[in-house]
Symmetry: C2
């Protein structure tokens, strides 16, 4: 694959970074909450939130060309965390209407703002271990997108995950060594099917990251959902009509609305990518991620102040987020998340089931904790 | 065994309840601390501390004849918890000098206060499931003690514990059916040896509970440690000399100073007792005790406000002592003790090792938490 030198420091002219910042965050409770979703939290111990890290990762390419799409309840928190951005860099959705509406509105605004724009959409709550490798992939993707393709980043799978959708690679794109057409997007498979995918070497994880010209995206949407595309362009033309038009927009994921039919129509390509990616789906994957970032393992991993954790003969993840000392004695693969108003104790293997706790709290009226 | 009817409501004339209230409490950290040892805590969910329960258990026999021996740092807390007692019912040791000094001083004071006194000594931090059965045993013990014996309560062992010393029963005491002479006291045995003891049916746990006339106790002490007995009697005669004489008293357990040699001399008898006893040596035994008291098991046992605990497919003990919600997901025999400034997560099997945490905290200067 002929990629630009990974240390290329130049920005990409006309490149706009779109950052959808949403998500309920119940799988990382009590660290993330409805009112404080994971993109607002520091989940890697870097001292910066995932949103801030996403911004930092893209700033060398986008400079100040950012558009963060978030819910109204999070608008102020986003503005505070990304204080350098102008007010019109944050787009507050009146209500959550899934990714097509959110990203489509960004596309419609950019289409008017900069006819030569190429946009890249990257969720605010993903972690990337190697930002330079990531930027090199984005450079390639932008180059290809300028030619009118919908370009996805295809993450090299590191195990047979049943938690992600997959991208099935087709032929190499002529003139772009290493870049492949997308044969199809496939939904989350079983672990067995995923293992079979990996064995072929022709599948990549779909992390929902893509690069495209805004006009191409909206025209593709217009092919299958003409009224949807028209409504988005109307809002962009008359922003005052946002509250009026927004509630009627279809609630549909961008993958279903555009990416899948566009792949069938031969309009999607992918840049196979290896830069260490994680969407931190639960505390188990957070523990794996932190161990990989820190090259640790064998003892308790601490996300927070090490001095607060006293571990005796234990492994797993401890997140001390109150000021209290947390002592863990004789537990394997334990997960302890200590916050000022709620404590979670579970195991890495059972970490997904924290959703049941959040559901139970909601049901019993303790929404102050969810 | 011919015991008085267990519902006998009458007090025992001349019977004084002596309550040694000491102990470091590191094995129940972070629930108990140096500054707040376990006898000051509610460990059964009764709403009363172990000290208060000990007092309540003995009041029907002793009425207001109590003498609590405790360290000076705990004097005020004891007075507050036992507000009904007069000021001279609390004896504050200038420093910890083990049980012979503490209980011996109580004996010396009582010897002067009431020549016909019979004292019973019962630690402030034990739990007894059946207080009426306990009082029935004490009644028998007092009756026998009036005849000049040192009378211990011999707890029926419920398993082959290596954590307790044992009382080896000898012949039945003539005139007192069921009461036995003590052949010897034996130190904490191995589990195998303990199992062999149990198989004979002639061994009882030594819970350190005994009943004796103060003069008998001091005279026995005087047989082997004449200066010690004399010093205690000097303090009782001139209480102003407490601070002067106390530091020179030997640091020795009453078992070693008196009970063991007195048994060899044929002066000790025991009342075999079955009333559900526990000294709550660690969180494992606390969990066992609570399950027995509540007839529970199969799920998480909560010591505190049930509404704060959200358990999914878990067993063990949760102690919510901050106001926070504690969620436990998918853990077997877990122990979670949540206090405002420190959190412990361990398993019932490893509960003893909390001592290592306390030692580590002390070593690193966090004595505010120990």
């Amino acid at each position: 694959m002929s990629l630009p030198a990974p240390t290329d420091p130049s920005a990409l002219e006309g490149f706009w970074a779109v950052i959808p910042a949403g998500g309920a965050g119940t799988r990382l409770w009590p660290l993330s909450r409805r009112t404080s979703p994971k993109f607002l939290r520091d989940l890697t111990g870097s001292g910066r939130s995932l949103l801030q890290e996403t911004h930092e990762r893209l700033a060398p390419l986008a400079e100040d060309r950012f558009l963060v799409v978030t819910g109204r309840p999070h608008r102020d928190a986003v503005a505070e965390q990304l204080a350098g951005l102008g007010d019109d860099a944050i787009l507050a959705e009146p209500s959550a209407r899934d990714s097509m509406a959110a990203i489509g509105l960004a596309a419609a605004l950019l289409e008017r703002r900069d006819p030569d724009a190429v946009m890249g959409s990257f969720a605010a709550d993903h972690v990337i271990a190697d930002p330079e490798a990531f930027r090199a992939c984005v450079r390639t993707a932008v180059e290809v997108a300028r030619e009118g393709w919908l370009v996805t980043l295809g993450i090299e799978p590191t195990f047979a995950s049943s938690a992600f959708g997959y991208i099935h690679l087709g032929e190499e794109l002529p003139g772009h060594p290493g870049v492949a057409t997308v044969q199809e997007f496939v939904e989350k498979p079983s672990t067995d099917v995923a293992a079979a995918y990996l064995a072929t070497g022709r599948y990549r994880w779909n992390a929902g990251m893509f690069v495209v010209r805004p006009t191409v995206l909206l025209d593709l949407l217009g092919t299958w959902h003409p009224e949807f595309a028209a409504a988005l362009r109307s809002i962009a033309a008359e922003p005052d009509r946002l509250d009026e038009l927004w509630p009627d927009l279809p609630k549909i994921a961008l993958d279903h609305a555009v990416a899948e039919p566009a792949a069938d129509a031969g309009r999607v390509v992918t840049v196979p990518s290896t830069f260490g990616w994680d969407d931190i789906g639960d505390f188990d994957s957070l523990a794996t991620l932190l161990d990989a970032l820190r090259d640790e393992g064998g003892s308790v991993t601490v996300l927070g102040d090490d001095a607060l954790v006293r571990a005796v003969d234990s492994t797993g993840l401890v997140v001390p987020r109150s000021e209290r000392v947390v002592a863990v004695v004789g537990l394997e693969d334990v997960v302890v998340v200590d916050t000022p108003d709620a404590l979670l104790v579970t195991t890495r293997a059972r970490a997904q089931e924290v959703k049941a706790v959040v559901a139970g709290l909601t049901e019993s009226g303790r929404t102050d904790l969810t």
